[in-house]
Symmetry: C2
Subunit: 249 residues, 2 copies
Amino acid sequence: MADTDTDAGSTDTGGTDTGSTDAGAGAKTPRERYRTQVRAEIKERAWEQIATAGASALSLNAIAKRMGMSGPALYRYYAGRDELITELIRDAYRSLADTFRAASASASGADLAALAHALRGWALEDPQRYFLIYGTPVPGYHAPDDVTAIASEIMATLLDACAAMPSGSGSGGDSPETSTATEFGAHIEDLGRQWAAGHPAPPAALQRALTFWTRLHGVLSLELAGHFTGMGFDPALLFAAELDDVRAR
Amino acid sequence: MADTDTDAGSTDTGGTDTGSTDAGAGAKTPRERYRTQVRAEIKERAWEQIATAGASALSLNAIAKRMGMSGPALYRYYAGRDELITELIRDAYRSLADTFRAASASASGADLAALAHALRGWALEDPQRYFLIYGTPVPGYHAPDDVTAIASEIMATLLDACAAMPSGSGSGGDSPETSTATEFGAHIEDLGRQWAAGHPAPPAALQRALTFWTRLHGVLSLELAGHFTGMGFDPALLFAAELDDVRAR
DNA sequence: ACGTTTCAGTTAGAGGCTATCACTCAAGTT
DNA sequence: AACTTGAGTGATAGCCTCTAACTGAAACGT
């Protein structure tokens, strides 16, 4: 379902038919089966290529040749390079969202450590996939709405975990700035009413989610980009330290 | 015979000085003057192109046309696209190093806030330049030694600022984990002897420099990549909050 | 002042890429 | 059996990087 037939270009035909038959849920015509199968293989090859040479080196032509067919054939399946990359981005977000959700569910209650561990594992599993989401943005590009929807799904999972946490948990006593003592805390509280619509998370949770995100991304992205090589320390420990700091906030 | 080949690049070239002729310091032959001038203009156009379309869209051909000459002419000045990009990366690092050093010098003593402010200003000035350094890495690419040398120069400036800081400054009393209480702190202290050779910075300073780097990069890179758009809060305040947190560590 | 060398810039071209078009031909449909 | 759909093809245009052979002018040595 939801295939929506990309090839619009010529031969519209869109017409559609009127009722023809099946339309049921699972059953597909053999051609549809074949089509989705080929689309899947294209993406598979694309991921291989991205993992080894980066997204900028992704070539439809090379994929086609590796699949035994000739260049333009791929345009039956994807309108162009951009559409394929967008689909890969979508899949990457989807994969991260699922990983996150699974980690959140498996952990008793909601544990930031579980989320962080899942995030790091997911990133190390395929660094280029991480960079497809969080790497250098292409100036012109704007992700379609459904992709940003998945992004907020990820954020929602994180927010839930933060909201389900004892507010000032950490280190027994009082950290000097627990909630709205900081300027940023006040700022967050200000727009707490208008933002986070749909998310019943208190401002403190939002703030913690934000620092979780930015700090772990900071360590992770520099690690994956190799900026720590030659320094001799273990990035995993730095990651863990940042995680602890966020949890004990 | 044999005129070409041996192309340009081999070795030096870039060098600004190294007068082939005797001539002492500044004087260059007119051809050398012209050469460096053209090289500079090429880089100028390249920066324009990168700022608007990103590094992956950089085209030697387009640059040449915009300069009124025809494609292959540029290969007299740069051995290829990769060499040009490497030079741009070098310049970006150089620019950041200078900005950092200037901020460090102008501020009385060494102020992390001054460094942070300089960093953020530098990044916002040309986001694509920031991403050229800290963005998605190209799997095959490895920066030449002189570039990584500039990178450690930047780190050295940061380390100096951290070392010149009162160790447990922050919030009057005692933050729960001041120095080696954390696992990572101990880890850093472990290799403090072997690493940081040449930098007389104590482990605590190194640790602070690391968190300065990763946290501010975390906020900055997500902001520049547009991942905060639609959330309604002011990234500058989040940046400032993270800075404060690092300083009061 | 006159060769000689050096080098910027040119055109031509190989090879790769994205993408479009017209076409074939087999698989599904009626 | 006739018809319709669509997967795959080759040809083509236009962009790119980069190489090769050549032209012509500026710089240099004597």
